[in-house]
């Protein structure tokens, strides 16, 4: 099987993760305990793209901004629409990252890093190292969140607690 076929066969992993993350971010006050990676706050910044696979063509819906549109996006999940990307915001201590994550590859798009204060005439390598630290930190935080999702997904309580709670959120916007 080619890499592209394998990516397509398992693309549900990324889109289901984004739905779980969306639910948790709205119902846990956006706070996630990531163990070694510390505690982070995460919220959806108001741009969510959903896609439905029709028989003839795919329809894409992009919801931006207001709460009503986001609620509409959540309802669209009930109509078999799949999340294909979302704009996320992560805060860890004083550092904040903002980016769009796609569900197929989980690639980062337009990642805005925390501001770096640079002194005039500073060694350009210093900027490189600071930027790389922050880039890799963003990747590590998303990987840790994905691991949290997988942990929940294969836990014995997924069918009895986690999934019913996710369905309640999709339908009612709150946890049971």
């Amino acid at each position: 099987m080619s890499v592209l076929d394998e990516v397509r066969e398992h693309e549900f992993l990324g889109r289901d993760f984004l739905v779980w993350l969306w639910c948790k971010s709205e119902t846990l006050d956006g706070v996630f305990d990531l163990g070694d990676e510390g505690e982070v706050e995460l919220w959806f910044e108001g741009k969510i793209t959903l896609r439905s696979d029709g028989e003839r063509s795919a329809q894409t819906i992009t919801c931006t901004g207001e709460n009503a549109r986001i609620r509409e996006a959540r309802f669209a999940l009930r109509e078999a629409k799949k999340v294909t990307s979302a704009r996320l915001h992560i805060k860890e201590g004083r550092d904040e990252w903002s980016f769009e994550l796609d569900s197929t590859w989980m690639n980062f798009h337009s990642l805005k890093l925390p501001r770096i204060l640079q002194e005039k005439g500073e060694d350009p390598d210093a900027l490189f190292y600071q930027r790389m630290f922050l880039l890799e930190k963003a990747v590590a935080l998303m990987d840790a969140l994905f691991s949290r999702y997988l942990e929940a997904r294969v836990s014995p309580t997924w069918e009895t607690e986690e999934f019913p709670a996710l369905m309640t959120w999709i339908h009612e916007g709150v946890l049971p």
Binding site: D16, M106, N107
Partner: protein
């Protein structure tokens, strides 16, 4: 825009295999060999790709080994393309063909002669065309074997992975949700195959899970 300035868009890879023991001596030779070459130096070529300094896309000379930024190897991949507008090529070819037909007093030109004219015109116009330059940052963490590449288009990423393989003789494995899941289960001391047990979720009202 990129890893050093502005916002970053990137895809992720893992390097398959181990770093050669003599990489400090070996990689500079390979980077130089696959360094970017200006299209002006490559007669008749429409496209040129190669490594440049991450901090200066106009410097393919690599006078120092500053791309080794322990534990990273940081380079930019430059892609220059010259394009001749289709209509311009057709217009110049038509002119040449008409002149030739008039000179030789013939009504039609053989296909092979038309192709010769087309190639000569294309080559002449290429010399006049200004290339469009794009640079994509690449940072390889030599400790973790992770690579970040500053683009996400499938076609470009495939070409980059092949160029990386030619340069370093190491394969890049793309990172995507399934490989991330395998790795996550491995780190959690579970069998990687658990990733295959995760099935898609259905949220429709009448869904059967």
């Amino acid at each position: 825009m990129g890893f050093i300035h502005g916002v970053a868009t990137f895809s992720r890879y893992r390097v398959d295999g181990t770093l050669p023991g003599n990489y400090i001596e070996e990689f500079p030779k390979r980077i130089l060999r696959y360094g970017f070459r200006n299209l002006d130096d490559l007669a008749g070529e429409e496209r040129s790709v190669g490594w440049v300094r991450i901090l200066d896309m106009f410097d393919p000379a690599f006078k120092t080994m500053e791309y080794f930024k322990d534990p990273y190897l940081a380079l930019s991949w430059r892609v220059d393309t010259k394009k001749i507008p289709k209509e311009a090529l057709a217009q110049y070819c038509r002119k040449e063909e008409n002149e030739l037909k008039e000179r030789e007093g013939i009504e039609y030109l053989a296909k092979s002669r038309r192709e010769e004219i087309r190639e000569a015109v294309r080559s002449r116009l290429l010399k006049r065309a200004i290339p469009q330059s794009r640079v994509y940052d690449m940072v390889w963490n030599l400790q973790t074997n992770g690579v970040l590449f500053g683009a996400t288009s499938n076609q470009l990423c495939d070409e980059f992975a092949e160029f990386f393989r030619k340069t370093f003789e190491l394969f890049l494995i793309p990172v995507y949700p399934y490989t991330l899941a395998q790795r996550a289960f491995e780190l959690a001391e579970k069998d990687q195959a658990v990733a295959d047990e995760v099935r898609p979720l259905f949220f429709e009202e009448e869904a059967v899970r």
